[in-house]
Amino acid sequence: MPMLIFLFLLFCYWFSGFGILTLFRIRLRPAYMVTVGLLLGVAVASFVPFLLQLLYIVITGPTVFGALLAVALLLNIPSFLRMRDSGFSVFTRPFGRVRFRVRPYEVPYWLVIGFMVFVSVWRCYYLPPTSRDALSGPETIAEYTVREQTMINSFFGLDLWSTNNQFKSPFLISLQVIYKLAGFPYGQVWLSVVFLCFTVLLYHFLRERLHPVLAGLLLLLFMMTPEIYAYTFMILYDYSNMVFFCLGLYFLWMGVSGPGRAGLPGRAVGGVGGSDGLPRDGSGSPAMVSFAGLLLGIATYIRSETLVLVVLFLPVIFWVQWRGAAGGGGKVSEGDGVKVSGGVVLRKMAVTGLFFLLPSLVGYYLPVQLYIGHYLPVHYDLGGLVNNHLSDLHPLLQRYGDIVNHLLFGTFAIHLWGYLFYITCALFVAELVFVRRFSREARFWLYAIAVVYLALGVMGFVLPMFNLTETTKRALFKIMPLLVFYLANNELLLRLSRWIAGWEVSGGEKVAAAGVVGNGAVAPKVVPATGRPGAAGAGGKKKGGSGGGSGSGGGAEQSRGSASARKKNRKQ
């Protein structure tokens, strides 16, 4: 029975996620549609028991599962309406060209990563939650929610002097409630869904840019970060927060760049189009930026301090819009040649920024302001926790130093993150010295890394309870996938990737030698999801593609085709 309900839940997740993607008119490759859909569905599910509580509806199996199904159906109303014209293909068309091809050199990575995934999933399923932060708050609340049918239950009558975990987001409580109601005594299985989806997504993201040999290596390095791996079977907020934060930034990059520049998986994206300054050449669109805002809003719902980070990405959107529209005030010209004033551009920037920020504001307001302030019988005085000596900046500098010395470098850091940070630093310095320029996408990810680092320092300074070895350490999870994204755009790795791809498909020494210099003239061009050869340009070279030789989903075949065509041309 639990397995049947588990499958039902998976269906609800995917259907909800599909509905959201459709609402934003986002169509991606099947692998992305499934994994992003499931992740969105988990996020939607994490709101459902919480919403029932806000409406004072009893939390039971029928109400929760009924609400999950109802939400999934509601989110798909536009698809149902379109069924009148297109029939059931509305749901099947996005998966119409599923191609699954395994190359032998991917298998070694898959075996090790599969082993680690399996072990993690088993521990999620078999062992009860153990972390103190879960047991002294969300897990116990969830347990008694199931027994007492309300999230505001007898737990809050206890002596809670030793903990503040009862004030954390309902995200964890809601998902634990759902799985306990489904018959999983320890809940937790949802975390495996998140873990699995993110792992698959990350691999596909990497393969969009790099040869599978390098993509697999980077994914393995990410999986081998000891601290993050531990959180793939230990229910807390940090892993899920990291996932949605990184996904949000990824789609933000798509929104401000478009696949034509980034070689990204977006195949076709709706979006309103028009004079917002965002790129028109593909997926760049206000809709995509809003979608990124939604994902970041989910991350904020999971960990409220994410709001600060989200705000710090507004300048990216404004910068791209301003430059896209004119690069200055006064009368400016759009892509279609229509003249608009600087005021119009500013207004559109404000609208895009608002839609980007709004989900995060809601994700902050609901659990922190509304729920804690007006529903819980105990209250949390955040104001009383703020540092009263903000004019003394010494602790801030101390915190930045501590983050670097204790959490990013040194023995403790290696025990936390393995060698991922060191490898990234080495390749960053190498790119700085030998290439002396960074692609737009690499700059975006470097900016994101810097934002997280700087913001965490400030948060630790303003809120002393945001301690170094626990809170900041776990908040640093968010940086790790960003390092991987940066590495996937490191010009040296991209050149190596192109060289491997060129060597693999062509075989001629001349070709391989030409490929290694990375001018992209001989090495097979990247075939992004758009199917447009040579669309990637993040490498920063005039002719260079940003990615490796084989994008997923058949990129290699097309690469091989184009390379052999070039060979023929040369012979002629």
């Binding site: 680690m116 088993w122 009860p128 153990t130 002596d159 903990t163 000891p226 290696i414």
Partner: protein, 162 residues
Amino acid sequence: MKVFLLTLISCGLVLIVLNAGYYREWFNAKPSQYWSDFLKEKDDTGDEVAVKKTRYGIVYTISMRVKEVVEKKKMPHAVILFEPNSYYRDSLKIYGNIRAPEPAVFYYYTGLEGVWTNSPDVRKANFIVRITKNKGVTLDEIKSPQQLQQILDGFKKYPPIL
């Protein structure tokens, strides 16, 4: 042939990562150990309580024993007072091996209300869990407010810690 070579390179890279410095130590201590645990756990026929006993250790076992005793005594409003962990650390020197659960965690384990010596509700305590080196764990009834005050006075120099 090239695909074969690339496969060899992949295998080599995987082996290098798995054997590089701390990765090797960690992989053996964690994922590999978890696999060994899985091989045992998959055939385990123990129920939920047995799994929890293994996972949560001595604190869970003590908590469940307390629950049993309270149920036997048929005390519907039992409130359990725990000795401070700093007492185990500084006086008995047993803190590494044993410690009192947080009230919230104790409630998760047993459904019983627990309090620490500095709790606002400490006056409601009618049982105390005592841990000694010789007698082990005992659950004693607190019979009067005076006795409770005496107990609290005895722990004044031991502030509750996690």
